[in-house]
């Protein structure tokens, strides 16, 4: 169990990382539209997954209701853009602020009353479901009838964040790059050090003078704001927001599968995990459809999830790093792997 701060990455590792993203960016120019759409969704779920992964992997707080923050972001963008014609950038900022505030309030209330562990997780579900129902009945935000973005026509606009499939591919890829860098930077920063210390032993870090109460609120609020950006982008990509789909349990579950399978709290785990699980889900679905047995995909995907947590308890990325460590310069990435999350 390492407690010391991660060593600074060597130049090779950073270059390797940039090269990987360059390849992904280049793929954006040559892949067919289907893969573009699929990867766009993969990147968006990766990005949201990273926010979730930070909260648990570095902050030690389990959320099963992240759809709350995703929904807040999505609705901020949708309402400001559709009702008032404002640029989605405003929506993203407002969404971040709202999600951070809601996250902080929720965290403040829970931690003040010593709600922790599985009870905090259950509280996040309750909060997400509560807001889903409230948004369902709220006419101003479209209620159950949802909100729709107008069809995209005309040239890509970075300012209005509207464009074709490739445009969103690059936007979401940029988001993931941002997420990877942010995760790596936080890990390397004093903040990440404090958060992990707090995650591993809250009492001990409090004894060392860490204001854990404040830091726990900070983790939740930070992660919420991050997820809200993802939610705003997701709304733009799918072209509509409905409380059931953007704030439902489905989103909360879908986003956490990738990071867990990929490797929690690591910079690359969420990306690798989502890159594997989401297309797998679609493949299973296509196979189920081919044989005319819908439901087969659920069985297959469910079994894959069980197998993943059974066989690779720390996730795929740490497993890759550990096996590659001895032969390549990936050693710095090794530092990015997750220490066992304590209960």
């Amino acid at each position: 169990m390492q407690k010391k701060r991660d060593a600074l990455p060597d130049r090779g590792a950073v270059l390797g990382c940039l090269a990987a993203f360059a390849v992904l960016a280049m793929l954006g120019g040559v892949l067919n539209p289907y893969l573009i759409s699929l990867l766009t969704i993969v990147f968006l779920f990766t990005f949201i997954g990273q926010s979730w992964s930070i909260m648990l992997g570095l902050g030690g707080q389990l959320s099963i209701g992240h759809a709350l923050f995703v929904g807040i972001g999505a609705y901020s963008v949708a309402v400001l853009n559709i009702r008032y014609g404002l640029s989605p950038w405003f929506g993203l900022v407002v969404g971040m602020a709202l999600a951070a505030t809601i996250g902080a309030t929720l965290a403040w209330l829970s931690f003040r009353f010593e709600v922790r562990g599985i009870y905090f997780a259950l509280l996040t579900i309750a909060a997400a479901e509560f807001s889903r129902v409230v948004f369902s009945g709220w006419e101003f935000v479209g209620g159950m009838q949802g909100l729709f973005f107008p069809a995209q026509s005309g040239p890509n606009s970075f300012w209005m964040l509207r464009g074709d499939a490739r445009f969103y591919y690059f936007v979401s890829l940029a988001a993931v790059l941002l997420g990877v860098s942010a995760t790596a930077l936080i890990r390397l920063s004093f903040l990440g050090y404090v958060w992990r210390a707090m995650r591993d032993d809250e009492d001990a870090s409090r004894a060392l003078g860490v204001r854990t109460f404040l830091h726990k609120i900070l983790v939740v609020s930070f992660s919420g704001a991050w997820a809200a950006i993802g939610g705003g982008l997701l709304a733009l990509v799918q072209g509509s927001v409905f409380p059931d789909s953007i704030m439902g349990m489905g989103i909360s579950v879908d986003i956490l599968v990738g990071p867990i399978v990929g490797g929690l709290g690591t910079a690359f785990g969420p990306l690798i995990g989502t890159l594997i699980t989401l297309p797998l889900d679609h493949l299973a679905s296509a196979i189920g459809n081919k044989f005319g047995i819908p439901g087969l995909n659920n069985v297959g995907y469910g079994l894959a999830l069980i197998a993943a947590v059974w066989l690779l308890p720390d996730g795929i990325w740490p497993a890759i790093v550990n096996s590659a460590k001895s032969i390549t310069r990936l050693s710095w990435f090794g530092n990015l792997q997750m220490e066992q999350v304590k209960k």
Binding site: A25, M26, G28, G29, V30, N32, P33, Y34, I36, S37, L38, I41, V133, S136, G137, G143, M144, Q145, G146, F148, F149, P150, A151, Q152, S153, N156, D164, A165, R166, F167, F170, L234, V237, Q238, G239, S240, F242, D244, S245, G250, D281, H282, S285, A286, G288, N289, P294, G295, N297, N298
Partner: protein, 410 residues
């Protein structure tokens, strides 16, 4: 970014141009021959929470394709894609189908997935026939490739209430007050809103006493029905899906409430097989208005029989019916276009003027937004554990029975 994607778009445009050119130069021979083979992509929520209507649509598509091959001689291949009831998958499914070479799309049942799929269709300029999806925005957001067979909720409701008015003004002892029990989901809320407007507009001689909305995930409607009963209404207007439609009738029976009229405008659920399986004799008499097959149509009998022999345990319902019709719309367009090129199919779809094959509807024509202007509803009433068409008069199998037989006397 532009430099990266530039060449690809050029290549795609070039390729499409080449195909179009080929079609044009080959025209003399092609025109004389049978319509070219066409690939149709069907986007449905075959799994997930909407699997029930989704799979029903898949059956309609498959049967429709078989029928279209025989009727129009179209060599039609259907490729299915599943959205798993998630809106974001609409676009992925559409792009996947386009990638597999589909020339035209049909889908996607729920408005969220439809909008998401339409974006892909729009980008690739592949026409998409929306067999079902009720949100106004499907045709009002400026998509140029959309052709919606299904009417918006407001149209359905107005037509339904017109039928209801015809009924209550023609019977002795008409109901005096009505209570509206409706789902608070997308479909339920938009229907209820339209209901309020249409009720006033048509000046129905029944007083609207109360609206009682309930959550889609309601597990128990006893209080809602008790409230409805206590309002003193003698007509129940409900907007439901099948589970809650069953729950409502069960509660009516348990609470000994016998409305003279039970009517579901835009009534999903009431004409479903599960409704009859669950309620048996108690299902009889419940009325709903819906898009439904025309029992007096030329081919209706054959198609229904074929459906029955293919899928012994299922009914040809509104979902499979609309999906079936959507396939015929596509086939008709392909025949007229004599081309499998998407842009030509799209042009042909714009010029559609089709006498419906299975469904009851006026001539199917699409206006500038892509909305079918001919759509029409039928009124169904349950009789001997099957829904039967009782209105409009021209296609009625029976005359509507009124008032309902009290539940305890059945």
């Amino acid at each position: 970014m532009t430099s990266l994607k530039g060449p690809l778009i050029n290549r795609r445009v070039a390729m499409k141009g080449a195909v179009g050119l080929a079609a044009a130069t080959m025209a003399p021979w092609v025109r004389a021959a049978a319509p070219p083979p066409v690939k149709v992509g069907a986007i449905m929520p075959s799994s997930g929470i909407l699997a029930f209507p989704g799979q029903s649509c898949v059956r309609g598509i498959d049967l429709g394709a078989k029928f279209a091959r025989e009727r129009y001689g179209v060599d039609m291949t259907v490729v299915h894609a599943d959205t798993q009831s998630k809106p974001e998958n609409g676009r992925i499914a559409a792009d996947s189908l386009i990638q597999q070479g589909c020339n035209v799309l049909i889908g996607a049942w729920d408005s969220g997935a439809t909008i998401s799929a339409l974006q892909a269709a729009e980008a690739a300029k592949i026409p998409m026939v929306v067999h079902i999806a009720s949100a106004n925005q499907v045709t009002s957001q400026g998509f140029t490739q959309v052709f919606r067979f299904y009417p918006p909720a407001a149209t359905i409701v107005r037509q339904s209430l017109a039928e209801m008015k015809a009924l209550v003004t023609s019977v002795n002892d008409p109901p005096k007050g009505a209570v509206v029990l409706h789902l608070s989901n997308t479909m339920g809320t938009s229907t209820a809103t339209s209901l309020d407007a249409a009720w006033k507009e048509l000046d129905l001689p029944v007083k609207l006493l109360e609206y009682i909305p309930y959550d889609e995930k309601a597990r128990d409607l006893s209080v809602e029905v008790a409230k409805a009963k206590a309002s003193g209404a003698d007509a129940l207007v409900s907007v439901t899906r099948v589970n809650d439609a069953i729950m409502i009738i069960r509660e009516c029976i348990k609470q000994a409430w016998n409305p003279k009229l039970i009517f579901s405008p835009n009534g999903n659920g009431v004409p479903d097989k599960a409704f009859y399986d669950a309620l048996g004799k108690y299902a009889d008499g419940a009325m709903s208005s819906n898009l439904w097959y025309n029992p007096k149509g030329e081919d209706a009998r054959t198609i229904v029989d074929r459906f029955q022999s293919t899928y012994a345990n299922e009914w040809l319902d509104a979902n499979s019916g609309c999906a079936f019709e959507a396939v015929q719309i596509v086939a008709d367009a392909v025949v007229r276009a004599r081309s499998a090129v998407s842009s030509e199919i799209c042009a042909a779809l714009k010029a559609t003027d089709l006498k419906p094959i299975l469904m009851y509807s006026g001539p199917i024509k699409f206006d500038a937004t892509g909305q079918n202007t001919g759509a029409a509803v039928t009124v169904l009433q349950a009789k001997e554990s099957k829904p039967h068409v009782v209105g409009p008069d021209a296609i009625a199998e029976y005359k509507a029975r009124y008032p309902l037989v009290p539940f305890e006397k059945r």
